[in-house]
Symmetry: C2
Subunit: 166 residues, 2 copies
Amino acid sequence: MALNEETYNEVKKIFTAYLENKSLRKTPERFAILEEIYTREGHFDVESLYISMKNKNYRVSRATVYNTLDLLVDCDLVSKHQFGKNMAQYEKCYGYRQHDHLICTDCHKVIEFCDPRIHNIQTMIGELLNFKVMHHSLNLYGVCADCQAKTQHEKDQKEKQLNADS
Amino acid sequence: MALNEETYNEVKKIFTAYLENKSLRKTPERFAILEEIYTREGHFDVESLYISMKNKNYRVSRATVYNTLDLLVDCDLVSKHQFGKNMAQYEKCYGYRQHDHLICTDCHKVIEFCDPRIHNIQTMIGELLNFKVMHHSLNLYGVCADCQAKTQHEKDQKEKQLNADS
DNA sequence: ATCCCTGCAAAGGGTTTGCAGACGC
DNA sequence: GCGTCTGCAAACCCTTTGCAGGGAT
């Protein structure tokens, strides 16, 4: 929820260097978006980021949010995901361990996990097939413990009903 | 390109059983779409499938294609992928080894690969985090050998030009 | 002063939905 | 005959684009 000043200073430095290197302008909007992202926890979509900034009376447009997100993804300060829906999800990623996602197909909850073996697979397959692999995305889809319990509960209720009817 | 009759008969049987089990109607459109999918090779998107059927003078609507694809994905005869673009890609999957994808970020070529370790990870993480994991999607993003060569070639050309200018 | 970047709104493209008619059951 | 499925087209939603004004360099 609260912005970690130290982290923000580091990512700001990285973003500044990236912009200078690419001869892009260091506009206040770009840094405001970066700050808002590093103030947030977890995953977010473009609309919720836009709404958050609007709610803080910051005058931005969706176009600028999209533009800036592209830049941030390009300089590895933000990662972009497609969890099945037609809506990109983003998350800050500076200083975070590389991780993957477990997605509940019932309630759409997203849980993160790490497994070092994936990196080995990435490296090995890249060498094998002559690809210069830059990054990967592993999503596991299933039903979380809560939804499993909920489904079981509904099933039990139905059986109870059937028994009562007969 | 040509339809494998034996395979088609098997998937047709599976689809029929699925429809009966769910009390859904066995319409000719649904089987025509299944047949068209099992006649195709590799990945496809909804539009190209729709166009193919139109070209064969088969009267279908996009709505029915979408509806049927959902059913086929649900009964595991077709798998759906999101390779980054905002357009779903599908592929037949009956009788195919589970596999994952290597995607070239330059030319958008998609290559398949298999690695048994992924299945182990899927099982282990599911048990660890109490998810009933049903399936997964692993995409490796990188630059293929061709595009690496092309980029290198362009770089060489530019250097030659610079040397010629000076 | 230049011209890239911004905000705004309209366009774009894939997917979903509503409705009247068709047809599987 | 009932109720679902279909075709068609409009609606929807996320994202991209065009344009005129503004601000970074």
